[in-house]
Amino acid sequence: MQQRFTYLTVTLAGLAGWLTLAPVAPADEITRGEMLSVSCAGCHGTDGKSPGSIPSIAGKSADTIETALKEFRSGQRESTVMGRHAKGYTDEEIKLIAAYFGSVK
C-alpha cells in the first residue's frame, strides 16, 4: 500500500511536469491547409523560412499571401515558376494555404 501510494504520487508529479513542459499536443486531425502548405516548403523552406534566394513566406499576412497567389495565377504578377504552381490551386485552397502561412510562427 505504501509502495502504491508513492508510485501514484510520483506519477502525478510527472504529469504535472508534463503539463507545463511538453509542447502543445497536436490536434487529432492534420488539416487540409497543413497538407497543402507543407508542399510549399520544398522551395520556400520549412515553415516558409527560406535559407536562400527563394523568397520566404513566413512573416507575411494571410491577405498578402492570398493576393500574391491569385495574382501569380492570373499572370497579373510576373513570375518565373509561381504562375505555373498557382494555377494548380482553387480559391479555397489558396485561402487555406494563406491562412496556414499567415499563422505559422
Partner: protein, 426 residues
Amino acid sequence: MGTYSRRDFIKLIGAAGATSAVGWPLIAQAKRGHVVIIGGGFGGASCAKYLRKLDPGIKVTLVEREKEFVTCPFSNAVLGGLYDMGFITHSYDALRQRWDIKIVHDTAVAIDAAARKVKLAGGKTLKYDRLVVSPGIDIRWNALKGYDEAASELAPHAWQAGPQTVLLRKQLEAMKDGGVVVITSPANPYRCPPGPYERACMIAHYLKQKKPRSKVIILDAKDGFAKQGLFIDGWKQLYPGMIEWVKGTDGGMIDRVDAKTKTVYPTFGDPVKADVLNVVPPQSAGAIALKAGLANKDGWCPIDQKTFESTLHKDIYVLGDAAIAGKMPKSGYAASSQAKVCAAAIITSLRGANMPDPSYVNTCYSLVGPDYAISVAAVYRLQEGQISGVKGAGGVSPKDADPAFRRKEASYAVGWYKSISADIWG
C-alpha cells in the same frame, strides 16, 4: 534497441513517473507508435522529419548506411566544376538533435512483414508499427550487356552520388583536349529524367573552359526526353557544336558496352569510342525493396497512391524513386513531397483519424550553364486512385524567355537546392 515491448513500456511508465517530466515524451511516443524508415535520402529523411514535425509524439528510427548523405541534385554542377562535394553533402546531426530522430547507420537486409521487424546487417532487429521503405534506386548490373559493378569503376554511372561522382570528375579532369565524352541514357523509367541532359550541359561547361576542342555525345535509348526543346536551345546558345544527341532510332539505342576500351556498341551502326564513358544504366527500386517482395516484375513498387502503403505488404510504405507514383517523376523533390503525404497518412492511420486529401508538388531545375537554368513544375492531386497533374497548371519554362529570365532561374535553382536540403536535413 530502438524498440519497446509492451512489458518494457509498462516498466518505462514507472521509470518515467519516478524521474519526473523527463520521462513523459517516452510515454507519448509509445502511445503514438514507432515508425522505422529505411533510407535517409530525399524521401526517407523528409518523412522522418515531417513525422516528427506533424506529430512530436511519434518515435522515429531512420536506418541509413552512410554517415553523410550526398545528393544527386547538384552533383552535375560538381561535375561541371561549379561546386565541390561539400556543397552536396549533408549531415544527419539536425535530424538527430533538433528533431529527436534516432539515426542508425546500418543496412536493412530483411523485412519480416508479418512480425513487423527489420533485420539489419549489423545483427540488430528493429520492431516497428509502421515501416517506410525509401531506398532510392539500385543499378541493374548486367541488364546492359558488359555493365557490371567492376565496369562502373572504369566507366562510372555517377547516378548514385558520392565516390562515383568523384571518379567521373577525375576522369574529366584527366581527359585530353579534343577528347570525346559519351553519356548513355536509358529507357524510361529511371531516376531524374532530365539528369543526363543537364549532365551533358555541365560537362560541356567544364570542357568549354578547359578543353574547348572536346565533345559530348549522348547515346539515348529514347526518341525524346524531358525539357527537350529547352535543352537543345540551350546547347545551341552556350555550347554550339559541342553536344551531339543521338536518339534511339538513329543509333542511340545501345546493345552493350566495353568498359575496358570505353567503347559503346549501338544496336546498329558503328561502335562509338569514348575517352570518358559515363553509362547511365537501367535501374530498379533499391535492393531491400526487391528482397522484401515489395516490387513488381519490372522492379518497381506498386503502392496505394494516396497513402504510399504498399499494395503487396500491409503497414509498409514505399516512397520516392522506388515507388510507382502515378505521373510523378522519379525526382528528389517528388520523393520529398510524397514523404510529407506519407507522413500524414501514417500519423492519421496510427491515430485512427481521417487523412486530409493529399496534395503533391514537383519542381525541378536543370542548370544549362552557371547563369542559365530551366525548370519544370507540376501540382498533383489524386484522381481515381492515380496521382495526376492538375490540368492547366505546371509545365516547363517558356521557350522564348530572355537571358534575364534564365539567369533568374539559375539563381532560383541554387535557392531551390538550399531550401530543399534544409527542409530535409535541417
